[in-house]
């Protein structure tokens, strides 16, 4: 399989604190990868770097062979770790915006999913519950035919049933040749859908392996491995 994402020597510091320290890894197409680590370990910074929100002058990110920029962004679908839509915007405005900016955005599919979750297209973002707002963001992100999906903490504020529904959306929406990187603390919820796991700590990668390998070698679930690693 071809490399969809390649990160080489990524580093980033916030003031004197190093958030990422010379991180290198690659992800092949068709993989669902979990990004795990305690708070402050550098997960969000890493995802932001891949999405092009933060630049590193020394390291390099390559997506489908392109450096981060206009071309890479056209094949990356990114959902940030917090609500990024202004409260005064209507859901229909957001659909218009995504349709306008992304040629691969499937509006019909997005509208169907929104209806399934009981989100009205005429609703204002500010009127949605925290959980519904989060669902809206995930639905818009996942309604594209992107090559790489980046979801940063997509289960924030979701109840267990809603989490299950979001997972269902995620699995159903990722095309076979696309990859998904998901950062979350709800390891148990997504363990079954993962192909690979990246554990990071203090800005460095602890390990990056296939989930099956981890299970067969340790004889433990991913959640148990996580607890053992970071306890």
């Amino acid at each position: 399989m071809s490399k969809l994402l390649e990160c080489k020597g990524l580093s980033h510091a916030y003031g004197k604190k190093r958030a990422l320290d010379d991180i290198s890894f690659s992800v092949e197409s068709g993989k669902i990868v979990g990004l795990f680590g305690p708070n402050g370990s550098g997960k969000t910074t890493l995802i932001k770097m891949i999405a092009g929100m933060i630049h590193d002058e020394n390291g390099a990110v390559s997506i489908c062979g392109n450096p981060v920029g206009e071309k890479s962004k056209s094949v990356v679908s990114y959902s940030p770790d917090r609500m990024a839509f202004a409260a005064g915007r209507k859901v229909s405005d957001l659909l218009d915006m995504y349709e306008l900016m992304y040629e691969d955005f499937d509006r019909k599919s997005a509208e169907d999913k929104l209806r399934d979750f009981g989100i009205e297209i005429s609703d204002y973002v500010g009127k949605l519950s925290k959980g519904n707002a989060e669902k809206l963001q995930v639905i818009l992100t996942m309604s594209r035919k992107a090559k790489l999906f980046l979801l940063d903490e997509p289960f924030n504020g979701l109840d267990p049933v809603a989490r299950e529904n979001v997972i269902r959306i995620m699995i159903g929406c990722v095309p076979e040749d696309s990859s998904l990187i998901i950062s979350t603390h709800q390891i148990g919820d997504i363990e079954q859908m993962l192909d690979e796991a990246i554990f990071i700590k203090d800005g460095g990668i602890v390990f990056h392996r296939s989930v099956d390998e981890i299970r067969s070698e340790t004889g433990k679930s991913l959640s148990e491995t996580y607890m053992e690693e970071y306890r």
């Binding site: 003031g15 056209s74 990024a84």
Partner: protein
């Protein structure tokens, strides 16, 4: 402009459209009422309405500037940027987009303002006072005389040419002031990112104050140069008489040109620095 930048721009145009429609409607109504008052020989009321029209237009231009600066602030300093910067356009595309729209809206408003003065002038009886320029009618006549070939009166030609140069200088100064705000925000974003400062509004305030003082210093230096070489533009008596019948255009072109050069060059430098920060050092 590529297809995606065009799409981004059309999104932004939609956002400003409501504000612009309200402002343009206000100018139009005021100018028509103003003209009506003049045609009814109520010159006192007409003058009051004209003052209101000028105040509203000044306020409109300031509001548009603030609105556009706030749009840029939203992209750099609020969570909205997380979505905006993930759009498939270069990071500096957002700067280009904002700048182009700001120039377009501000320019449009100024043109509409002049047109509104024209409406009230055309319908009304008296000339619209335009400060050192004389009157709107005078300006239009000067244009007709010197550009339409009716007469070739030298002072009129000089006044017209000087007006164009002065308008260009004022436009460059306006652009420079706008870019200074954008520059303040972009540099503040860089400072906050590099040193991990969370008090972003404090950083913006301090950077803004520094920029303001730099502007004051540059203005003061330009004033000294203008007075020292007796060039006519903003701060010398000669500057205000340049449009009179004896306006000495050949000498007085130097003043506005110095302003165009200095403010234009600094605006270009600030824009390039912003572009570089957004493309190579963004941190949101």
């Amino acid at each position: 402009m590529n297809k995606r930048s065009y799409k981004l721009e059309s999104q932004e145009i939609k956002k400003v459209m409501v504000l612009m429609t309200v402002l343009i409607a206000a100018y139009s109504v005021l100018s028509v009422v103003c003209a009506f008052a003049e045609s009814r020989s109520t010159s006192g009321l007409a003058l009051t309405l004209r003052v209101i029209l000028i105040l509203v237009s000044a306020l409109g231009i300031i509001c548009t500037g603030i609105f556009m600066v706030r749009r840029f602030y939203g992209i750099l300093f609020t969570d909205e940027g997380l979505i905006k910067f993930s759009f498939p356009v270069n990071n500096s595309g957002h700067l280009k987009n904002n700048f182009r729209l700001a120039v377009m809206w501000l320019g449009l408003q100024m043109l509409i303002f002049i047109a509104c003065l024209g409406i009230s002038e055309y319908v009304g009886k008296e000339s619209v006072p335009l400060g050192p320029v004389g009157s709107y009618t005078g300006l239009v006549n000067s244009y007709k005389i010197n550009w339409m070939g009716e007469y070739m009166s030298a002072p009129g030609a000089k006044a017209m040419a000087a007006f164009v140069i002065m308008a260009a200088a004022l436009a460059v100064i306006t652009v420079n002031v706008y870019i200074s705000f954008i520059f303040t925000l972009t540099v503040s974003n860089r400072i906050c990112g590099k040193y991990n400062i969370l008090q972003k509004n404090g950083v913006i305030l301090i950077t803004g104050l520094a920029m303001f003082n730099i502007h004051l210093l540059v203005s003061w230096l330009l004033t000294r140069i203008e007075i020292m070489f007796n060039m006519g533009f903003l701060f010398t008596d000669k500057g205000f008489t340049v449009f009179g019948p004896d306006g000495a255009f050949v000498r007085d072109i130097e003043g506005p040109l110095v302003y165009i050069l200095i403010y234009g060059a600094t605006a270009v430098i600030m824009y390039r620095i912003c572009k570089n920060i957004l493309d190579k050092k963004l941190d949101i």
